[in-house]
Amino acid sequence: MSDPSKKDQPSKDPHQGSQGSKDVTSSPQKPTSQSKQPHSKQVGGASGKGPPSQSTGTSSGISAKLSKEEKKKQKAERRSQKKVETGKTGQSGATPGGDSGQRKEGGREKGGVSEQMKSQAKVIRQIREKSLSQSEDGKKVQLFSHLHQYERTQSLTKSLGVTSDLPPVIVRLAIMYSSGVICGSNSRCLAMLGAFKKVILDYSTPPQKELSRDLQVTIKPYINFLTTSRPLSVSMGNAIKWLKLTITNVPLGTPENEAKEKLCTDIDEYIHEKIILADEAISAAVRRGIIKNGDVILIYAHSSIVTKCLIDAHEEGIQFKVIIVDSRPKMEGHHSLKKLVNAGIPCSYIFINAVSYIMKEVSKVIVGAHAVLANGYVMSRVGTSLIALVANSYNVPVLVCCETYKFSEKVQTDAFVTNELGDPNDLVPINRRHGNILSGWKDLTSLGVLNLTYDVTSSDLVAMVITEVGNIPCTSVPVVLRLTQMNN
């Protein structure tokens, strides 16, 4: 398998070779692979590989970048020829780290899976190599150079030939993620679980294999592929962990149809319990004690659980007003605004730069969360910690609504260590008056454009986390984690 790859990109040798080849053992020496690995380790939430290379990754990443720069310049011409041939494919640099990390797992898995893994790996390698060729065009801000920047310039699917054995439902899902059609922690997780249900139903155990082992192995490359479109959210990561555990626990010797049916029922139950019922419980708690008559509630962007709580509270007859805060480039507040106005709730809409002006009118701030970390810090859409800071300075309590399946065992105190870098080109169109003042940003060496997706709000800024197990202070998140682990 290594020969065809070398034929395609003979120039890639030392640097790319470690990432591209199946030579699992060579990666420790290669600085470029280390620089990408932190990303892969964090992204593969389900695989749970610790980030031992993370600390070394960032420092070596910078020096690696410099040497990579030089060598890239040398090979640029040869590569540009290849570019024209094959067309630009794949997310720019989306997979290098992801694959080398996952590759190791693939490499360690011996036996019959190697065929499937090889072909899958080859496809992913091709995508990555092509996208690497233009990753130099993607300018990254120095402080976030250890993170991968997701740019939507390339088509995910161009490199996937007819022979690709990725199920179409997974490809469809990846495209929906990368284009932003499915956005939001809960929706992404639900869509993913739905897709995996289909995968399980279509799956047939190869002869001489056990479903509980083989199915896991089959799913791995699909997860990798999903990661190339957008990094896994914490909710998705937890769901995948649970799914892998459930698959492993399928008793040996169960007839295939029974096992598949049982898995599908389990997935349905998980969705029902952890998401749907949890949302009901949170909504009930909010209606019961949180929102009172005459309240002015401030919400940010769009959170499915927060809008649900507000609509249910309104239906119950509680009189309150809502202020929706929105921000570029995603403008998710429009979605909230539509939903709430249609429900008949009196709303105001402001931009995030006006938050300090409006805050003195606000009685409570209610936000959703992408994840709540083990030290009580809340990871949410970028802009949330700004709102929490302003709210605290006006003594307005900040409440976070979050289902317990989004609780993560990670500990993070800032938004630099792990984050998701969105496409910087999304920030370029400003408004009619200023036109495309930023359109030439790539040519200016002194200008960088940064499009962060998440930020981390400190636990002392949050008054309460509303979950389906009750209203808890931020600091009690590890208690809930401990109890759920005990129950498992």
Binding site: L399, N471, I472, S476, V479
Partner: protein
């Protein structure tokens, strides 16, 4: 419950040397169970509920009574009652109830033990209103030979601060009553602030006699440690975000003292509290939620 019972209960509440309000309430509830003529668990539970409401109405501020009663109820009905015979059930409930009561009797002793190292020889303490637990703790410290000085705020409305000072004098502790408004003035002279609690909320904050919040804010401003002394049955499943979230029925009193519109309790948020000294141990405000989850599981 008969009306004579209610009036005896009210007197007992007022007895400063006596048992904690919640313990009195629990004793009454045990009596209710004993004398109950109900034939089913559901009926019995209803009787207990009505009795609890009457007990709550007998006192001006009811947080500790309601929390104590609820915890008591949970404790006695914790494990499943498999006996089919109702009499057996009742006996079991009474047994467990007495065990719970014995545990709570010892809670003040336990707190005095735990809190002893916090008061050193020569410490000046500021306290608020009259708390039997704090009184016990201070007496224990004084009896073990430490020389302490205590300032007590008058806590107008019922002037309980003055009563507290009398008891401290009886024990031989140097004490002085100060005006509520002089708390800021005196704060630089004290080493630590110690208050009791009516209820400890899930957030780690405390609900206590009006004026506690002010003391806490001033203590924080001058970097003095603020300790709350409370037994574990005062942990209540409330999560107030601000003063407004306290239930009105507990804030305002209808006892004719002529000051009907003034709140009698306030809420101190957890960020002003250094530590809580309880019979479960010394807790930080964030640990209260952990303990509550354990207690209510």
């Amino acid at each position: 419950m008969a009306s004579e019972d209610i009036s005896t209960v009210r007197n007992q509440y007022e007895d400063p040397k006596g048992l904690s309000d919640a313990i009195i309430a629990i004793q009454e509830l045990l009596k209710v169970i004993e004398n109950s003529k109900a034939g089913t668990i559901a009926r019995l539970r209803d009787e207990i509920k009505t009795a609890t409401e009457e007990l709550i109405a007998a006192k001006t501020s009811t947080v500790s009574v309601s929390s104590g009663s609820e915890l008591f109820l949970r404790f006695i009905t914790l494990t499943s009652l498999e006996q089919t015979n109702f009499e057996e059930c009742k006996k079991l409930l009474l047994e467990r109830g007495n065990i719970y009561l014995q545990k709570t009797f010892k809670s003040r002793d336990r707190i005095a033990e735990i809190g002893a190292p916090f008061i050193r020889d020569g410490t000046t303490i500021l306290t608020h209103s009259r708390s039997r637990v704090v009184l016990r703790l201070l007496q224990e410290a004084s009896n073990s030979g430490k020389r302490i000085t205590v300032f007590i705020t008058t806590s107008t409305i019922d002037g309980t601060g003055v009563i507290m000072q009398k008891f401290l004098e009886e024990t031989g502790i140097a004490s002085k009553v100060i005006l509520d408004s002089a708390a800021g003035f005196i704060m630089e002279k004290v080493d630590l602030v110690m208050v009791g609690a009516e209820g400890v909320a899930e957030s780690g904050g405390v609900i206590n006699k009006i004026g506690t919040y002010q003391l806490a804010v001033m203590a924080k401003a001058l970097n003095k440690p603020f300790y709350v002394i409370a037994e574990s049955f005062k942990f209540v499943r409330m999560y107030p975000l601000n003063q407004d979230d306290l239930p009105n029925v507990e804030k305002y009193t209808s006892v004719d003292s002529g000051i009907n519109d003034h709140p009698v309790i306030d809420y101190t948020p957890p960020r002003y509290i250094t530590l809580l000294l309880t019979d479960l141990g010394v807790l930080t405000p964030s640990a209260v939620s952990d303990e509550l989850i354990k207690l209510y599981m």
